[in-house]
């Protein structure tokens, strides 16, 4: 027994010790140490953990670490290898319920926990999902398809294209709704990408994820998954949507338009917010209450237009004071075809960029202006700097969110690689409210805690 696979996660000096006593991972052992006797099961060592300790699960369920230099001897008293199995139960079929397809991209929407290692084993087949979120059977007939298994941060344009094509296929196959399980970090990027890549969808395309993984009892996954499936199966909004928690309380989800939504907190459940507008709808226990009514209605007769394109030489540049123009020059040198600037205030960068901007214009690199304030409109006529930037060919994008503008430009450059005018025209044309004519007065709500009137308000709504 000396195969490295028998000692997952162990490095020197612990590896030699385990080899010497012939105690691979999953051995039941009695370890005599300078700190006393320890009995338990040897666990795989987490890759992020150090090399000095052996992980042991005690009968009480607790794990502890034994340091290599405390170990005097190890007796092996048994061997209990792990057996990862996901319990499965047949997803009940109801001919009266709509058919919904769930695409998996890598994040775990539902999962089972391995109690010994703490490993989260994703539950994904309809049967596995039914085993952990049985309420789904009350909503729809669910079919699942795992497209890829990547973390949210590794999702790229290649994945967007595949997703778009699979959405088109699912629509053709007659599904009444599409749900996409997605990590939350880049969910809003994917939502924007699908908005442009799958035009005229006749059915809802709903992205969903969780801020608290489903191996935790307090997870937001089950509620969001049930609500997202309801929207896909029964909702009337045939757009690309993000369906995530409204408040941090487990009460209702909000439906956000894929072009106006952004993740705003690293860990809160209520992290997704519609910016510069109000969300499309609330959804509680499967019941949808529209807030806006100007959405595209479900229409099975509509034919989708799937255009899976993306220009990788597109970038999003976040401006900061003292930014040197060599960055812009480097982008041009490296063949970038499109640049979204996230400017300050009403849409500004410092004047030392002017020469680089002129060069971009002259070399056919398209440059657009968005706002790092996230809320509000680009308005470059107010100040001299703005006018000077405009003169150098930078195109303002109203209240389009920087990330959305990046995705839109990448898609447009991919779609019309040799037609800059078409790209410019598309960029400045509102699509699914990625730019709006104005901002509703309650489109910007960032309250400050501690202010008495806000505390009074919180007392009412957080109760």
């Amino acid at each position: 027994m000396s195969d490295a696979d028998d000692f997952p996660g162990y490095r020197e000096p612990t590896l030699s010790i385990l080899r010497r006593f012939d105690t691979p991972v999953w051995s039941d052992i009695r370890a005599h140490t300078t700190r006393g006797l320890f009995e338990g099961l040897i666990l795989p060592r987490a890759e992020t953990a150090d090399e000095a300790h052996i992980s042991l699960k005690l009968v009480s369920g607790y794990n502890v670490g034994l340091r290599h230099d405390t170990i005097e001897s190890i007796e092996k008293v048994g061997y209990r290898p792990a057996d990862y199995r996901v319990p499965e139960e047949e997803f009940p079929f109801d001919p009266d319920k709509p058919r919904v397809i769930l695409f998996g991209t890598g994040g775990t929407i539902a999962s089972r926990l391995d109690y010994r290692t703490g490993a989260v084993i994703p539950a994904f087949s309809p049967g596995e999902l039914y085993g952990s979120v049985p309420e789904l059977a009350d909503v729809c007939n669910l079919v699942t398809e795992k497209l890829f298994g990547v973390f949210s941060e590794n999702i790229d344009a290649g994945h967007w294209k595949i997703l778009a094509e699979r959405c088109g296929q699912a629509i053709e196959d007659g599904y009444q709704g599409i749900v996409i399980g997605h990590g939350t970090d880049t969910m809003h990027h994917t939502a924007a990408a699908l908005t442009y890549m799958v035009a005229d969808s006749p059915i809802p395309i709903v992205l969903v994820g969780s801020q608290r993984s489903s191996d935790r009892p307090s997870s937001d996954a089950a509620q969001s998954l049930i609500n997202a499936s309801s929207v896909a199966a029964h909702g009337d909004i045939a757009e690309v949507l993000v369906c995530m928690f409204g408040p941090t309380s487990e009460r209702y989800n909000l439906l956000h338009r894929g072009t106006r939504v952004r993740k705003m907190h690293s860990s809160f459940r209520s992290t997704f917010r519609t910016l510069g507008d109000v969300p499309l709808a609330m959804i509680e226990k499967g019941k949808i209450d529209p807030i806006k009514h100007d959405y595209v209605r479900r229409d099975p007769t509509r034919t989708p237009d799937v255009q899976p394109y993306f220009e990788d030489k597109t970038t999003l540049l976040y401006y900061y004071p003292n930014m040197q123009p060599d960055i812009l020059h480097a982008l041009i040198d490296n063949g970038y075809k499109g640049i979204i600037l996230a400017g300050t205030g009403l849409g500004h960068v410092n004047s030392i960029q002017f020469e680089a901007l002129e060069r971009a214009r002259d070399e056919g690199v398209q440059v657009y202006m968005t706002l790092q304030t996230l809320w509000g409109f680009v308005q470059m006529y107010v100040y001299e700097t703005g006018r000077e930037i405009l003169e150098r060919g930078v195109v303002p994008l109203a209240n389009m969110l920087p990330e959305v503008a990046y995705v839109k430009l990448g898609w447009a450059l991919g779609r019309w690689p040799n037609e800059p005018e078409k790209v410019r025209e598309f960029m400045t044309t509102p699509v699914h409210s990625d730019m709006t004519a104005g901002e509703p007065v309650e489109g910007y709500l960032v309250f400050q805690g501690g202010v008495p009137e806000v505390q009074d308000f919180l007392k009412t709504i957080w109760s």
Binding site: G61, N63, G65, R112, L113, Y115, G118, P217, G449
Partner: protein, 684 residues
């Protein structure tokens, strides 16, 4: 009706560690009161008891966030609503507790005072690094228990789905294990208590209310670091349970780094007898009530085992009470919608329920006739066991919500009609239960499950202690599968320097401390009180060196501090530097011991006066003799003419003189001099 399928959730079986090693219950042992029992009687019962003692640590901050520890507030700035879902275990089974909490479908509400928590407590931010002060205290207390220390702490998640922790799990890490504590105070003679383990964990929320489907918590105390000390089942009599609990609390307190006061220390008590299995009495706040609680619990076990044997004698088998949990309980032939029959009973609570539109169902319990009325605890019957479980799991709130054919009369032959409809015979019992339909469905299932559990004897449960010494169902006992690693936290190596540092200045054990106090001249009682008191360090810092001074110091700390706290409204301990000069003065004979209390009081009450000034007011001086002679002549002059006996006269004279010369002159010689001066005739 439609066969609506419910999710099937099956619970895993109890762990073997929870079974009492003896399997032969002494069924003929008579039910007796606590004071009629001798240690040998508990041995005959096979009584075993272990403790899990929780003590909050005296730290600045909480364990996994930087909020202040030890807070308590009833202010509500906002509320957060959550629900808890069980997570599947390794084998596709759910932990029994998890399952139960899922059935209760409760809204969990957290009432938040924004100054006591951050986003960690409401589970909207991952944990911050573990508080290292807490880890060191836990290591130190582990060493006081003589435990082997682990070399790397692994933070685990222990599932709690009752809502008491917003994450649904408690973060906890094992610090030490495998120790032995000398148990000198045992009523069974000199023994030992084996300590299984000590872990460090975050405290849970305080429960505010739990009514129907809504349970309310306050997270102020949540996250406060605490240590949980678990003993082996080595406590063999109720008295020893209380004494053992006190000993463990004292050992942890010896560190001087645990919190005191209400809620700062609580214990869970594990009880079993021969033939039964571990039942956990949860959160007992005092040691005083422990003996009666565990005594009653032992006899509850015995009576449940008697019910089991009678059921077996009647030939009742678990299969007779089985039903398919995937469907409504009404699909079982043992359950009946009884609204139309019960309507005729003119029993007011049932009629009111029907008027409200509640469901009224009847459940047939095969072979249970007479057993529902079997006594289990003082004033409680087996029917209570069923009712409690139904109340907790099915969340029925309107009382009463069930009656049974053993204990209740219903006019108009209702029971016999129900019997007929359920095809029940005289050997069966009928339970009638009412409430909202979904809850009654859960209730009917739970009645059948509790019935089937009667064949096991004593179900593994956690139970709530009541003030009268009885206990009530709280939840199903969780198994080891509710524990899994916390992927949010890295492992924490225990550094050798920490351990060396701890070993060097390890606190005395309480018994060592008591011995030292006795050697200093205190009585055994005073030494015990002082050893367990939070002012013990003040005594040590005052450094009394003569027995007389030590006794005065201990007595003043024990009696005058409390007095001062009551007077001033504070609970603070005074600074040792302020009190030490007094002990020194008494030890050196500059102040006589009789003045100790008076001077001590003034040191507390006159914060603006320097200790030296106060002490000198009581110090003997060269003028004392002359001053005293002058005072004596004044007394001779002022002495009342009418005599009511020497004793009264002396009392009057001492009262005049002693306040002035307290601490400066020996009261006995003052008395002798006055005796002579006032021409008393009775001998001194």
């Amino acid at each position: 009706m439609s066969r609506k399928k419910k999710p099937i959730l099956t619970a895993s079986p109890p762990a073997p560690i929870d079974l009492n090693p003896r399997t032969d219950p002494p069924l003929d042992f008579p039910d007796r009161e606590l004071d009629a029992m001798r240690p040998a009687d508990y041995a005959e019962l096979g009584f075993l008891c272990g403790l899990e003692v929780h003590q909050q640590l005296l730290t600045e901050g909480k364990l996994f966030c930087r909020c202040r520890a030890g807070q308590r507030s009833s202010r509500v700035d906002m509320e957060v609503l959550r629900h808890m879902r069980p997570t599947l275990s390794e084998m596709g089974e759910y932990d029994g507790t998890a399952l139960m909490e899922f059935k209760t479908r409760k809204d969990v509400v957290y009432q938040i005072d924004r100054t006591t928590v951050c986003t960690y407590e409401i589970d909207d931010t991952p944990p911050f690094p573990i508080d290292s002060q807490s880890v060191r205290i836990a290591l130190e207390i582990s060493r006081l228990f003589g435990l082997n220390l682990v070399s790397e702490l692994h933070v685990m998640r222990k599932q709690y789905l009752d809502g008491s922790i917003p994450t649904g799990f408690q973060r906890t890490a094992l610090v030490g294990l495998g120790g032995v504590l000398p148990f000198q105070g045992s009523e069974l003679g000199e023994r030992e208590i084996r300590i299984r383990q000590l872990s460090i964990e975050e405290d849970s929320c305080r429960e505010v209310s739990d009514l129907g489907h809504r349970v309310v918590f306050r997270p102020d105390r949540l996250g406060t670091p605490l240590v949980e000390t678990v003993t082996e089942p080595d406590l063999l009599t109720p008295l020893d349970v209380a004494r053992g609990g006190r000993l463990i609390a004292d050992v942890a307190r010896a560190s001087g780094k645990v919190r005191r006061g209400s809620g700062a220390a609580r214990q869970d008590v594990n009880v079993s007898i021969a033939g039964s299995r571990r039942v956990e009495l949860k959160g007992v706040p005092h040691h005083r009530g422990l003996p009666l609680l565990v005594h009653n619990e032992a006899f509850r076990h015995l009576n449940l085992l008697r019910i089991r044997v009678e059921l077996l004698r009647r030939g009742v088998e678990p299969v007779a009470l089985a039903f398919d949990p995937a469907y409504s309980a009404l699909e079982s032939p043992l359950v009946l919608d009884a609204a139309s029959i019960a309507r005729t009973a003119s029993y007011r609570p049932v009629r009111a329920a029907i008027d409200r539109g509640d469901a009224v169902w009847a459940v047939r319990m095969i072979g249970f006739a007479g057993l529902l009325a079997h006594r289990t605890q003082t004033g409680r019957t087996f029917a209570h066991e069923i009712a409690e479980r139904v109340r907790v799991i099915a969340c029925l709130t309107t009382t009463p919500f069930l009656i049974n054919s053993d204990e209740h009369e219903l006019v108009g032959g209702t029971w016999s009609e129900l019997r007929k409809a359920l095809r029940a015979d005289g050997g069966d019992a009928i339970v009638l239960v009412w409430g909202p339909e979904a809850d009654v469905d859960t209730a009917a299932c739970e009645i059948l499950i509790r019935g089937a559990d009667a064949l096991v004897g004593v179900p593994s449960e956690t139970r709530q202690p009541h003030a009268d010494g009885t206990t009530g169902f709280e939840r199903i006992l969780p198994g080891p599968e509710r524990m899994y690693p916390d992927t949010d936290m890295p492992a924490i190596p225990v550094q050798d320097e920490w351990i060396e540092e701890i070993e060097v200045r390890l606190a005395e054990h309480p018994w060592e401390r008591e011995d030292r106090y006795v050697r200093m001249g205190l009585s055994a009682r005073a030494a015990r009180v002082l050893g367990g008191a939070r002012w013990a360090f003040l005594f040590d810092a005052m450094e009394p060196s003569t027995p007389a001074c030590a006794r005065r110091t201990a007595a003043a700390l024990e009696k005058r501090l409390v007095h001062w706290w009551r007077e001033s409204g504070t609970g603070e301990l005074p600074a040792a530097e302020r009190l030490a000069p007094l002990a020194r003065a008494v030890d050196e004979g500059r102040v006589r011991a009789e003045a100790f209390e008076r001077a001590f009081d003034r040191l507390l009450r006159e914060p603006d006066a320097t200790p030296a000034a106060i002490v000198s007011d009581f110090a003997a001086s060269d003028h004392d003799a002359a001053d005293f002679e002058r005072a004596v002549s004044e007394l001779e002059r002022d002495a009342p003419a009418a005599r009511h006996g020497d004793e009264a006269l002396l009392h009057w004279a001492m009262g005049r003189v002693m306040p002035v010369f307290l601490g400066r002159l020996d009261p006995a010689s003052v008395r002798a001099r006055l005796h002579d001066a006032l021409k008393c005739e009775e001998p001194v």
